[in-house]
């Protein structure tokens, strides 16, 4: 069948069973939009800014196991998308971004709305393509979906010049893709797995350190099985939350800069560490030299060999898909019959329980002023711990991670790697579209929410009944915290002046807005909001302005050098 390039693009999206394309039209993609108009299988979500298109596609991908798709025009459409692309890249989220480009003959002529999109995005995509020939459109899009979702996932951009959309060729969607230059490993090396198991079974102070890779490879159940078989403590990175049920006794909470006392101490003093789909990032282990002071054996399972021994030397590297490797480990333990040495493990658990008794997440609640932690705790209660929760970046993000106890994977959506303020609302849009009947909450701050506030309009158009939980402290709270602790209390440009009345703003967009000033009203307001099954409710909580996130490991310090509360200062 002979089709135009634009027809082929839309056919490809249909072949890939794409439900939603998040996008924004413009000159270079007019033919593509024309084809979208003529069909109703692939639905288009018109955002209000291209950054949000990519974030929403990214949010959609995070809470499903599908590839998110965004569509933007050339020039400013593509540059607006860059923050979204980089955000997805840093967290290894599978996306396909289709961007329009000026006609092939105009490329390099400084044409209207021309930028070198492939050049600009090269450092923040898994791969990208400029398609100059209509005969390559189908195979390139097929490759893009394959690359985005396989191996270590990531965003792939396909740049399509306007004239390629109008040229014609025979359409034939390739089923199979083979690329001689790209063959991601899945199964782990059996010898390495055996070595790892031996270390684990001999461990006296073991620790399982789980990361976003567990979520991305849908390995949460396997991780839980393995951990229970072994009886080992589990900690998780910010990106790994939900990979192991937070209510389980073996879970020590998040580790790292704002991790729990028990998780950070346990990590540091472990003698055998099993790292699963995590990458020893600077926000997780602090200073690698300090971390290296304690002797320990490290086993590292990761699909990306370049993540192994990058910041920390590893003793037993296992390159492979986390789910496959965990499967094999479970199989071998179950068939082998050997179990860890129980006496040593008991002693280790006693030590951990002692650390737990510090109750590092305890905070002083108040009757007069709303504590942000209290709002998150109540949100958890009201939603039965079962909502899709997105966050922006700042203190509220850390409180969300600390106090909303995630039981299941793909429920927690935030920008861990790039730390992009503004993702919260678009992530919630993606999540709500992917899970129409489920509660979706966006925990945000008054600064972050303003970075993509225009999407309240998209939410109205697509009737997305998101609940926005704004922890309004009238400060760039996380910036203020660092200034208080490390810059002599000089609050340079971190006060948020001239804030809008968020409740009224929400109303102006056609939503419900509620301002909450006292702790006694917190729970009622949350319950009221979640009763509104068909409405977006913007809850503007006026919270304590001076609250800080603890525990805290200062940047560049060691994991055990935690500030547990203001009294430690």
């Amino acid at each position: 069948m002979v089709l135009t390039g634009a027809e082929i693009v839309v056919r490809c999206l249909q072949e890939e069973k794409v439900e939603y394309v998040f996008g924004y039209p413009g000159g270079a993609v007019l033919f593509l939009y024309d084809e979208l108009f003529k069909q109703d299988q692939v639905r288009h979500v018109l955002v209000r800014h291209e950054q949000a298109a990519v974030h929403a596609a990214d949010g959609y991908a995070r809470c499903t196991d599908k590839v998110g798709v965004a569509l933007v025009t050339s020039g400013p459409g593509a540059t607006n998308a860059v923050t979204g692309i980089a955000t997805a890249y840093c967290d290894s989220i599978p996306l396909v971004i289709i961007s329009g480009q000026v006609p092939t003959a105009a490329i390099g002529q400084d044409a209207f709305q021309e930028v070198d999109t492939v050049g600009i995005t090269r450092p923040c995509v898994k791969h990208n393509y400029l398609v100059k020939d209509v005969r390559e459109v189908a195979s390139t899009i097929r490759k893009a979906f394959y690359l985005a979702a396989s191996g270590r996932p990531g965003p792939v951009l396909v740049d399509i010049p306007k004239d390629v959309c109008t040229q014609k060729c025979e359409f034939d969607y390739p089923r199979e893709i083979t690329m001689r230059s790209y063959n991601p490993v899945t199964k782990g090396h059996l010898g390495q797995i055996r070595k790892a198991l031996q270390l684990l079974l001999e461990a006296e102070r073991p620790m399982i350190y789980s990361g976003g890779g567990v979520i991305l490879s849908d390995a949460a159940e396997k991780l839980t099985r393995l951990a229970r078989l072994l009886g080992f403590p589990v900690t998780s990175t910010l990106m790994g939350l939900g990979g192991y049920p937070a209510s389980d006794g073996q879970f020590l909470g998040m580790l790292g800069m704002h991790g729990t006392y028990e998780a950070n101490m346990g990590m540091h003093y472990s003698d055998v560490l099993l790292a699963v789909g995590a990458r020893f990032d600077d926000r997780v282990i602090g200073d690698p030299r300090h971390f290296g002071q304690e002797p320990r054996k490290i086993i590292h399972i990761d699909i990306d060999p370049s993540s192994i021994s990058k910041r920390v030397k590893v003793d037993v590297p296992i390159v492979g898909n986390v789910a496959d490797v965990l499967d094999e480990m479970i199989r071998q333990i179950e068939s082998g019959g050997a179990r860890p040495e129980q006496d040593a493990l008991d002693t280790w658990w006693k030590q951990i329980d002692e650390w737990r008794r510090r109750e590092c997440l305890k905070y002083k609640n108040s009757d007069e002023i709303i504590k942000p932690q209290y709002v998150v705790e109540k949100l958890w209660e009201v939603t039965g711990g079962d909502a899709f929760v997105t966050s922006d970046v700042g203190q509220h993000q850390m409180w969300a991670a600390q106090y909303y106890k995630f039981e299941k994977p793909r429920r927690w959506l935030n920008s861990g790697g790039l730390g992009t303020m503004g993702v919260g609302l678009p992530y919630a849009m993606g999540a709500q579209l992917a899970h129409p009947g489920s509660p979706v909450a966006c925990i945000t701050g008054e600064a972050s929410i303003q970075m993509c506030i225009q999407e309240l309009s998209t939410c109205k158009q697509f009737r997305l009944p998101i609940k926005i939980v704004n922890l309004n402290n009238r400060y760039l709270g996380m910036v203020r915290q660092w200034q208080e602790l490390f810059h002599g209390g000089r609050y340079s440009e971190s006060y948020m002046d001239s804030l809008p009345d968020f409740a009224k703003l929400a109303e102006a967009y056609g939503h419900i807005g509620i301002r909450v000033d006292t702790p006694a009203d917190v729970e009622g307001a949350l319950r009221e909001a979640f009763k509104q099954k068909n409405e977006l409710v913007f809850l503007d909580f006026q919270v304590d302005q001076t609250e800080n996130v603890y525990p805290m490991v200062q940047g560049g310090k060691g994991l055990t050098e935690m500030i547990l509360s203001a009294e430690d200062l």
């Binding site: 690329m179 001689r180 790209y182 060999p305 370049s306 990058k310």
Partner: protein
Amino acid sequence: MRHVISLLIENESGALSRVSGLFSARGYNIESLTVAPTEDASLSRMTIVTTGSDDIIEQINKQLNKLVEVVKVVDISESAHIERELLLIKVRATGKDREEMKRMADIFRGRIIDATDTSYVIEMTGNQQKLDSFVAAIDGAAILETARSGVVGVGRGERVLKV
């Protein structure tokens, strides 16, 4: 430590910038980088001379392998190998210096491939040190222009880099 890394990469537009971008983004050194198509026109071979600690070289290898269009990477300097670089040097060749320049070129087994009344162009191949020594050995004031190709190399014996 100095390493010579050879790789095969799909001969696509932009392939070179993916590699050079990787080196600059991650702060790796490039002493020289050469690239040209192979006998299989769909593949290019690149040779990169770089320096770094063992950890950095390991990361460079892994990061190169991670590039979607890279087919194969070998650190040819890890075992016996041959390196060559081409030098084209234009030198002043007048008076008694003219004879001396020819003598030096002969000693280093260079060839004069162009000559005018006042200048020579000398072609010379060898490893980096040999070319460096030649450039150091002749009178610096006589050098008008140099062009060096950067290093290419292959492993000795049976070892081959091929898909």
